[in-house]
Each structure stands twice: as structure tokens, then as C-alpha cells.
């Protein structure tokens, strides 16, 4: 709960629709059409071009951007919208951004049309979470596209920037009690003025950051991507005429909404819910905070309702996060065979959220963790609700995928690089969590994150050249995948220390790195299994100070367990600290949840898991009830013992359990 609402901040609460269209039109001519009649060939041809366009924009972003955030983790998004900002197409990138970029356009139309005005060649920058993003790190750039004096459409590019200020390096601010300790939100500001970057505005933007060159290069990446969109749209207009192109855009939205309605009608009617938690609202806090999400399907109507604890600390997100958390779960589970024309979904779904709760926080709540707490928190619950619903759909149950890697332990690093310059970056290895199991297959091991379809993980060598670090190990974690008839995919862990900070001849007394850590999902797993499946592991931050590992390495020993190095500290999930030159750090992140009862898993599959070290022999026996003898190529299932073991476990279940309400068997 915010201590005191800030009067004068009401303007920055962005609603989902344009507030005063007549006023907008007094200052900007909008290109509109009256109907969406277009011949089927033209519709198919131009729709296809729009679907190609956001990936072309995405290529530009990746190629021009300086950061591994965009190129590997795909923590960015590109969108194209109509004259009112309605999103016709989004790219296969970070799906959390789905509740976002149309609202930049709409707010700009409502509030900037008169002053300073909206003109051809302008581009507006915004990272204000109450207007249109999940946290301040996600900086969007929106370009109004004009044709013959009329505002025809919008292109938006958004990238997660490594540092936009605030108390902690990397801008995930573990100490924050409210937004004033975090990076400052910037409501939409005209940073490109009729084709040129305004250097005064750019300076104000860069000034807040510990890594100004990264912001500047990414600004150019976004500008280039938006300019590309304008070029392509102009080409389409030149070939087909403005009205036809616009009709296709509007028809795309109608078409997608119609198909989505049909899908919803085919799903069972009912209400499915999920309760989810976030631990620790800020540094040193030991609380557990709850949100309960309900998903209702009634014919072709879909409603998401959320209630829960009041906003607190820095784990919150705004309405953008609530919307983005739900749509990012809908797209790959329900809408995987439909176009991803975002506005079609968002405007069709009913959203109900209590005021000033964690996932709909009022200004000035702390939101710097917005994506990896509030939004991810909603996403995990929404995915769970959808999976529960699919479990009662004969036709669509094969679309179930148990909760995949349900959190991202952030690790922001700052220090002196090997050329002696200050750098600030994020470790992006977390883009390798396990995917959840499905009714027909195990979850994919080290698969990525479900909200980033094309996400990738950097190589060890790339990290060792960009960051002054040395890895002891990086591997898939045994027993991390949730147990089930089908096993969840394995998560991954890394263990590393600083190396050549400041260069090979760097000052050994200045060999440390600053570290900021924020995570949801350390105290308990952030996702669970489905249909009787078990949860995966949680994320963990560990460390050993003054390890002496550099000597071990020179002497011919590469430790493969942090526990073998020295006294292991378990770090609080909201922490700012320093990694000394001889300190070893460890980070792990989750696998996916299991599907179905582990006692139903095919023993031969468990054997294969044990041989490949995805499952330990102990877990095989304890969780799956499979007894395995021998090692390596000689390992084999003891069938009789397994049958016995499984019978015993079932008996134990009955013996240890009771009815929650009391009551007799």
C-alpha cells in the first residue's frame, strides 16, 4: 500500500482506450476507414506482409542494438498498430510486452497532440510503468506513421535497458520502498523531432544511466526499426492505397478476435483459479505476499479477476503487468494457431483487478522488478488457470504445458572491464530454464523461458569476453525437473568468479564487481506441476567468500560443486552486494513442472533419466518409486522391487493423508 497518493500524478494513469478522440482530432488528422471490406486475396497478401514486418523490425533491433539483452534474451518487442494505436501485429519476442505498447500511442494522442504536437518524423520515448510498461527498464519508442498529412498508424519498439538509474546498478532496486528510489519514470517525450534526435532530450535520458552508450545505441536500434516499419507501410500504401491497407489492418483485428471467440466457445465453460506468492518485498524482508487469480470462460467471454495483498516494497507491477502476464500465457497455450494481433485479445478480455494490489499497484509503488515479479507472478497463475481449464477439454488437452521456468533471478553486474572502462550488464544465462511437461512428452530441458519463444542463452565464451568473469561450471541440474508421469524439463545452474577485472594488469585491489540481485521464487518453486505433477526446483543465489579458487585452478582442480569450495552463504533474494576478486558466486533457476502422477511414469523412462543424470537414483526411488540397480551402461530397473516400491508408496500415501475438512474415510 502506498503511504500517500501523489496528487498531480493522475494524468499518468493510462486507461486502456483513448479518452477524448474529438479533442485529438482537433490537433491531428487521423486516417480512418468506415468498413473493413477487402477482397480475400488482398487480405491474405497484406496480412502476410504485416506478419513478416515485425520480424524484420526485430532483425533490425537485434542487429543494431549493443546488448545481449536484445540479441539473446530477446527482451524486446516490435509492434505495428493502426491510427489509434491498436496493435495489429507483435513480434515473437518478449511476450510480457503484450499489454503495453498500444497504450503509449493512445496516451500520446490524448496528451501530446496539442502540445508539443505530433508530426511526421517524430518519435516518442516512454518508460513510465503507469502509462505503458512493466518497469522503468523497458524503454519504448513509438513512431506515428503519416501518409499525406494524416496519421495512418504507429510503430513501436521497446527494449529492456540494462541501467536506467535508481539506487542499485541495473535498476532492479532491492532496497526500494517506492518508485522514488528507483529509476525515474519518463512519460512520453518527443526525443526524435521530425527525423532528428533532439540532443537535449537525449542528454536528459542518458544522464540517469550508469551505461549511457548502451542507451544511445539501443535508441538508434529502436529508431531504425520504427523507420523500417514506416518504409514498409508506405510501400504497401503505394501499391494498394491507404484505405485498402488500413482495412486489412482493421480486418486483421476483427478476424483474430473472431477466431479467438470461436476458440473460447470451444473451450469448456467454468472458473479456474490459482494462488501464487512472492517472497520478500525488499531487502531483509521476510514476508510472503499473495495474489489469487481467477479465470472465467462463459461462452466466448473471457474474464480475469485478481485480488490479493496490497502493493508493497518493490515487487509490484502496474495494470500493464497484469495484462501482459495474462496475454503472455494465452498466446502460446490458447492462441498458438492464431495470428498474434494483440489488441484483438486485450480488448476482448474482461480485466477486473482490485485497486492498489501487487499486480495493479498505484503510483508511487516500487515497480523496478515489475517484469520478474508482478508480471511473472500473474503469468504463472494465468498459465496454471489455463492448464487447469485445458485439463477438462477433450479437444484441446494436448495443448497443456505445465508451468515452465517460472522466474528469472536477476544478476546485474557492474565494474571495470578489461579495457579499464566502467561497464554495467546483466547475466542472461537465465534464458535456459526448463519447460513444463505435457500430456505426451517430458518438458524440454534447458529450453528458455515460455514468454520468449525465440530466446537464446549466450555462450560461456561470449560471457567471458564481455564480462571479466571465469566459469567453474554451467550445467543442467539433476532432479530439477518436476516429477510426474512426464517429467518437467531441467533448469540450469552456473558458478563463476571475477577474472581479470580491469584487464590482465588490472589493480588487484580493485578486482571486485558490484552485484545487485532480485528474484521471485527462491523460498519456494515459482511454478507447480499439473494433473498430479510435482513442482520443479526454485532459483537460488549462493556464494563463497575468499574462496582460494584461483589457486585451486592453477593447481589442477576445477571444483564442480560450490559446497566443495568452502562455507556456502545463501543470499537473500533482494540484495545489493559486492563480489570480491576471490568470491565465487552461484545462481540456479528452475526447471518445468511435471505432468501427472510420478508413480505412473514408465520405469524405462526413469532409467533413461538416471543414466543421463536428469534424475538421481534416490529421487527415482523416492518420487517415482522406481528401483534401479547398477551404474552407467549396466544400470537396470529392478522390476519386482519397483512394483513393490510403488505399492508401498501408495499405501503410505493413504496412511499419511487425511481429509482436510476432517471427516472419515
Amino acid at each position: 500500500m502506498v503511504d500517500r497518493k501523489i496528487s498531480g500524478s493522475e494524468k499518468f494513469e493510462a486507461p486502456l482506450e483513448i479518452q477524448d478522440l474529438d479533442e485529438v482530432k482537433r490537433h491531428v488528422d487521423l486516417h480512418e476507414v468506415d468498413d473493413t471490406d477487402v477482397d480475400p486475396v488482398t487480405f491474405e497478401v497484406l496480412s502476410h506482409r504485416f506478419s513478416q514486418l515485425t520480424e524484420e523490425m526485430g532483425s533490425t533491433v537485434k542487429n543494431v542494438s549493443g546488448s545481449v539483452v536484445a540479441t539473446d534474451a530477446n527482451d524486446f518487442q516490435t509492434t505495428v498498430g493502426d491510427e489509434k494505436g491498436n496493435l495489429v501485429e507483435i513480434g515473437p519476442y518478449m511476450l510480457f510486452f503484450t499489454g503495453v505498447t498500444d497504450r503509449v500511442a493512445k496516451w500520446v494522442l490524448d496528451h501530446r497532440a496539442e502540445n508539443p504536437g505530433i508530426n511526421p518524423g517524430d518519435q516518442f520515448l516512454c518508460n513510465d510503468p503507469w502509462i505503458a510498461t512493466m518497469h522503468q527498464s523497458d524503454v519504448s519508442l513509438a513512431k506515428p506513421i503519416f501518409w499525406e498529412g494524416e496519421l495512418f498508424g504507429w510503430a513501436t519498439s521497446i527494449i529492456h535497458q540494462v541501467d536506467v538509474g535508481g539506487y542499485a546498478p541495473g535498476s532492479f532496486t532491492p532496497q526500494a520502498s517506492d518508485v522514488f528510489a528507483e529509476g525515474d519514470p519518463i512519460p512520453p517525450v518527443k526525443i526524435v523531432d521530425q527525423h532528428d534526435i533532439r540532443s537535449d532530450v537525449e542528454d536528459a535520458y542518458l544522464r540517469r544511466s550508469r551505461n549511457p552508450p548502451e542507451l544511445a545505441l539501443d535508441l538508434r536500434a529502436k529508431r531504425a526499426a520504427n523507420n523500417l516499419a514506416e518504409e514498409r507501410i508506405h510501400e504497401m500504401i503505394e501499391e494498394y492505397g491507404a484505405d485498402t491497407v488500413k482495412k486489412v489492418m482493421k480486418r486483421d483485428l476483427e478476424y483474430t478476435e473472431e477466431r479467438f471467440r470461436n476458440k473460447l466457445s470451444a473451450y469448456p465453460d467454468g472458473v479456474w483459479s490459482h494462488e501464487h506468492y512472492i517472497e520478500a518485498a525488499k531487502t531483509e524482508d521476510r514476508g510472503v505476499y499473495r495474489s489469487t487469480l481467477e479465470m472465467e470462460i462463459d461462452g466466448d467471454e473471457l474474464t480475469f479477476r485478481v485480488s490479493g495483498d496490497e502493493s508493497v516494497g518493490m515487487i509490484n507491477c502496474t495494470m500493464s503487468g497484469f495484462v501482459g502476464g495474462t496475454t503472455s500465457a494465452i498466446l502460446p497455450l490458447m492462441a498458438h494457431d492464431l495470428p498474434w494481433s494483440l489488441t484483438s485479445y486485450v480488448r476482448h478480455i474482461n480485466y477486473e483487478a482490485d485497486d492498489d494490489i501487487i499486480v495493479n499497484a498505484d503510483f508511487p509503488a516500487g515497480v523496478s522488478m515489475g517484469t520478474v515479479s508482478g508480471t511473472f507472478h500473474v503469468h504463472n497463475s494465468a498459465a496454471a488457470c489455463i492448464n487447469k481449464m485445458l485439463g477438462s477439454s477433450e479437444e484441446y488437452k494436448d495443448d497443456i504445458a505445465a508451468g515452465g521456468c517460472g522466474c528469472w533471478p536477476t544478476e546485474n553486474v557492474m565494474g571495470t572491464d578489461r579495457q579499464g572502462r566502467t561497464f554495467a550488464t546483466m547475466i542472461m544465462d537465465m534464458m535456459s530454464g526448463g519447460y513444463g511437461a505435457t500430456p505426451n512428452n517430458d518438458g524440454v530441458n534447458s529450453a528458455g523461458n515460455p514468454y520468449a519463444p525465440r530466446g537464446m542463452c549466450p555462450s560461456i565464451e561470449r560471457n567471458e569476453v564481455n564480462v571479466p568473469m571465469l566459469y567453474l561450471y554451467r550445467r543442467e541440474i539433476q532432479d530439477s525437473g518436476g516429477a510426474g508421469e512426464y517429467r518437467g524439463g531441467a533448469g540450469v545452474e552456473i558458478c563463476y568468479l571475477p577474472h581479470d577485472v580491469g584487464g590482465p594488469d588490472g589493480d588487484p585491489t580493485d578486482a571486485e564487481l558490484d552485484s545487485a540481485k532480485t528474484c521471485m521464487g527462491t523460498a519456494f518453486p515459482p511454478t507447480n506441476g499439473i494433473g498430479g505433477g510435482m513442482p520443479p526446483n526454485s532459483a537460488l543465489y549462493k556464494g563463497v567468500r575468499d574462496s582460494g579458487v584461483q589457486e585451486d585452478l592453477r593447481a589442477g582442480d576445477i571444483p564442480q560443486e560450490i559446497e566443495h569450495i568452502g562455507d556456502v552463504e545463501l543470499y537473500h533474494p533482494k540484495l545489493q552486494t559486492v563480489q570480491g576478486g576471490d568470491d565465487v558466486f552461484y545462481i540456479s533457476w528452475p526447471g518445468g513442472g511435471g505432468y501427472g502422477d510420478p508413480l505412473d511414469r514408465d520405469p524405462d523412462a526413469v532409467l533413461a533419466d538416471v543414466v543421463d543424470e536428469y534424475v538421481s537414483k534416490e529421487a527415482a526411488r523416492d518420487l517415482y518409486g522406481v528401483v534401479i540397480d547398477g551404474q552407467g551402461v549396466n544400470a537396470a530397473v529392478d522390476e519386482a522391487a519397483t512394483e513393490q516400491r510403488r505399492d508401498d508408496l501408495r499405501e503410505q500415501r493413504l496412511a499419511n493423508a487425511s481429509f482436510p475438512g476432517g471427516g472419515d474415510r
Binding site: P40, P213, R259, D337, P458, S459, V465, L472, D500, I558
Partner: protein, 699 residues
Amino acid sequence: MPYVIGTDIGGTFTDTVVIDDAGHRVTAKASTTPDDPVSGAVESVTAAAEKLDLTFAELLAETDVFFHGTTLVTNALVEGERGDVGFLTTKGAEDEIHIGQVKTRTAGLPFREIQRLAGMSKPEPLVEKPMIHGITERTDYKGEEITPLDEDEVLSAIDDLRSKDVDSIAVSFLWSFADDSHERRVQELIEERTDVDVYTALSSEVAPKLGEYMRGATTLINAITGPLMSSYLTQLNEKLRDNGLDGPIYLMQSNGGVLPITDAAEHAEGAVSSGPAAGVVGTRFVGESIDREDIICTDVGGTSFDVGLITDGNPKSVPEQVVNRYSLHQKAIDIESIGSGGGSIAWVDETGHLHVGPESAGADPGPACYADGGDRPTATDACLLLGYLDPENFLGGDHELDVAQAREAMREHVAEPMDMSVEEASAAVVDIMNSHMSDLLRKLTVKRGYDPRNFDMFAYGGAGPMFSSFYGQKIGVDSVVVPLSRMSPVYSAFGITTSDLTWVEERTDITNEPFDRDEINGKFRELRDRAEDQLLDVVDTDEADIEFEYRAEMRYQDQIKEIDIPLPDFPLSSAQVENLSERYEDELEKRFGKGAKYASASVQISTFHVTASVPTLNPTIAEAKAVETAGEAHTGTRDAYWFGPEEFVETDIYDGTVIAQGERIEGPAIVQMPETTVTVRPGQTASVDSYRNIVIEME
């Protein structure tokens, strides 16, 4: 009349092209025999020999050079049939090949195939975990030894792998390209410890580039397919030599070059996906003979549309090749594909919107008109219904097309739901197909900063010549060339014969601005010398005959993505070295627009790259004399639908095998040959040149 032979083993067919020194060409097809590929190749060559009234041996005796391409390696990887490999890597990095940088989940897949979460997967691992040994050893980013090599562990690993009967061992240590001494020592130990030859592949030799997963994958593929390839090529070599072939035998590589087959087995990964590269290389050759240097290469088959690009006579390549979702550190001719081909299925969704593809009827059951069990309308069916195909003359009359089946499929699945006539539906389908294809073409040329209007287009593959007059028109090229006309369906086999002996040396060696002239030249020189040595080792040639191409992969520091920048010269002058960053930034702006460059960002070269090539004997493609027309080339008319007038028009039909050189054909027209059909639209003009290329000038 000495012959040049090109034989390409594809998935279904083994194609052979035989060309004599007067330019006379025969072609033949045989079924591929996957269990014994050599016999399929022999059959195919024999069939070609028969057309010349020669036996297999008689043909070989008169043959100067034998060029060969195969999908053996690609198939082995995709189907997982391969020998057992062991893998040694740095302790702590054993799982890198399984994590695959997560790229293994999506590389090469179109967006629609990654939308469904429940459908996600990774390919079969290249090596199972029990076969991976992590060895205590460590080198850092600057090539300095952090942890010495534990030789006892190495020996123990070798013993374990021997006990598991491995056919080959791959070794990939972290930072091996910065210092290879640990890997070399492992090779020595393997040789000492094993009395039988275990094929060994070292990552520092196979792919000395940054990125342990890709380097490891490339090395593993080398190790996995090496023995397989070796055995196959040895068999082939014996068969050909025993039957009288004296001249060199070459194998096609995905980088567009060839290697002698006696050496190709050590670089088996180079032959992965070499087929499409052959089409581009063949196009460069034909293009050169008719003075065309900027060409968009298009290959339309039954299931896919493959596109490559040639600029200034050079095929565009990429530094990273994807095969079966594995990413390899290997230069390959850049081919992009979409799932759009003759077999693409037209369908209407539940809201009444028309789509074409991505699903394909493939070859089985095939289009409805094949009457082979397919009952859904495809692009081929549409073409038949629009009058472009002659049902009785398809494939030289071998396979009669069933018009009634095509009509019924189109009516039921498209025309009726869309409330259109069958003809309107067919026209819509073809229109959509061509738009998708021209969208891909535009995307590929423009993303590299080129304007398609400055290009010519070549069209080959089974269905290329049928669609190219449409998508060529749409994209704005000046002309479309159907190269060597009747060669169209066996174009890859031809393309291989035009390829040169090629060797690539590259190494990641991160070098920051400001660039030192001597240092830069020195790094290139080292690679150049090594490439030269390799070529001289395998072919008897003069140093003077070797051509070198130098490229630097450059990027902004801390940036991930690199751009390939060709050097203007070698060695570079001081001015040229200073100018390198500017060349990089110019290319960046060319591709990504004004404002893509950032003045304060500093530039680096990450990988140095030298390609050395020696010309092989190339085929003659000119016709010795003009074709004597056996009769009129014009054989009649039929009604066909054209988009200009948007109606059926009586259209001239020509026999493409007898059109006289220089004869001009005004569109609308259809040129038919047993191998392929060429459409010429209203406003376009087609002619046949001395090479029997069909050149269609756009409106």
C-alpha cells in the same frame, strides 16, 4: 570429346548431367538407393551413358572430371543413423552441447512452428551424456593456461570410450581457438593409447571460432559423419577408378566449393546441405556467360521455395549454418526458404478466410491432379486449372494429370466456401502464392540493403519456371532467366560441375580499434598461408592459380551481431586499415538505415576469414550450333488465365526443345518441355539464347 559429369544424390532422386566439350548435354535420373548410395549413383550415370550410346565404363574412360554431391551427411544427422562418438570437453562445460545455447529449440524454424508451447522440442542430441567426458584443463579468454591438462583423466576417458567401441572422438575445450596445445596433446594421447585408428576431430582445427556450443557441434558432426563419409567415398572412388575414370573426383561443399573426395571425408561437415548451394553456384556460372552479375536465385520445388543472392558475381554466404536445428560454425552459401511450393495446399479457415500453405501435399500424396490419393487442392492444381500445365504432356507425357480431380478438390475446399468459381479460386491461389514468394524475395534483398529492381532473376527447380514470370514481375526485376532450360529439374547436378576447389581458413581473434596495419595483415597472412598449403596439398597446381578472398567479421565492441566485411585489398595499406571501421559503419547504415551507427561506439574485428580457391575444369555450355527446328516450335493454343486481363485468353503453346535461337515469343505464351513448363505473361517477351537459356523480359 571429353566429358564432364555431375551427379547429385538427393533425397528421392540421383540426378546426372553429362556435358561434352562442345556443350552437348544429356541428363538422367535414377532413384536414390539410401542403403547403398553408390549403386544409385552408378545407375544414374549409366542411364546418362545410354543416352550417348555408351556403357558406364566407356563414358568414364572419356571423362575428364567427375563432380559429385550428396545428402548423405545431412540425412545421417536428420535421421540419426550414425556411428558412436565420444566427446572430450572442459570439466564443467559438459552440458553445453545439450543446452545448445537454447538455440537448438528454434534455429531455422519459422515463427508458426514455435508458437505452440506444448509442441516445443530439441533435436536428438549429437552425443549422449554417458559418452561425454569433462577433463580437468582450462584456458582463458586471452589464451593463457589457467589449469594444466590432466593427462590421467584423458587416458581414463580414452579407455572408457574404447570400451564403448566408439568410431570417433571429438575434442572441444573452452578457448581452444586461442590456444590449441591442450587439444593437440589429447590427440597425441589418443594416438598413443589406441592401436586401431580412432577418427579424432579437434575443435581448434575444425572450427576455431568463439562459441563453445557451436564449435563443439561442428566438431562432433565432423567426427560423427567422418567415418561414414570416408567409407562411402572410398567405395565410390574404387568403383569409378575400377571402371576407367582417371580424372579428379570432387565433392560439393556447402560453402559453394568442392574438395577432392580423398580429402573430403576429413571435413565431412562441409558437405552438409550442399545441394541448394549448387544451384546458386551454377547460376553464377551461367550468369557470367551472359554478363549478369547481380542475380536473385530462385528454386521452386514441391515443398519449398529456396532463394539465394549473387552480387558482383559473388554468391552471398553466411558464417553460420543451421542443419536440423544445430548451428554450425561453418560458412555456407546463404539460402533462405519458405514452405511454399507446387504442393502447397489452399484452404479456407472457419471464419471464411483463404490461405495457401504452409502445409504441403509434398510428393505423397501429392497434388489432387496426380490422382495418387491427394484430395486437397494445391498450387499445382491451380496452375493446371488455369491452363498453364498440359495434362497430357506433364513430365514428357509420363504422368497424365487428372483435371477432374483437381477441379473437384478446388471446388470443394476453396471455391464453394469462398463463393467463387473454380477458376476464380485457382487464380486467387496462384496470386497468393506468388505474393508470398515475392515477399520473401523482397525481404531477402532489401534486408541486405539491395534494391531488387537492380537485379536479374534466375528460376529453376521443378516449378520455378512456371511461377517465375509472376513473382519476377511483382518484385520488379528486369528479366527472368530459366537457365539452360531443360536442365531445370537437375540443376543442382549441373551446378556442382561449375564449382571450384575451395578451402576456408578462419579464426576468432578479437582485435580492437585502433587497428595496427601490421598486426591485421599478419593475422590474415597466417590464414592465407595455411589455406594455400592446404590447397597445394590436395591439388597439383601453381601458387599463381590460387585466388584469395579476405573478409573480416566486424562489430561494435560488446555487440553480439557481426557483419562480414570484404577487404578491399590484401595486404591492406595504412589508409585502408584506418578505413575499415568506416566500411563497417557504411554497411551497417546500408542495411539498417541512417542512424544505425553510433559514433562513440568502438569497433572490433572478431573473426578473420580467408577463402582460397583454384578453378577446376568447367563445363562448356554453349551450343555448338543452332538447333535445327524439326518443325514449327509453335504447337498450338489453349485457353489460359492471365492476371493482366483477369480472364482466360487463347494462348500460344511452344515446344521449348526446338525454339530457334533468337526467336522472340510474345506473351501470353507457354513454353513446354518434358522437364518443365515456362509461362510468359502478357506484355513479357521470351527468347532463347545460344546457351539455350530462356530469357523472359518483364513488362
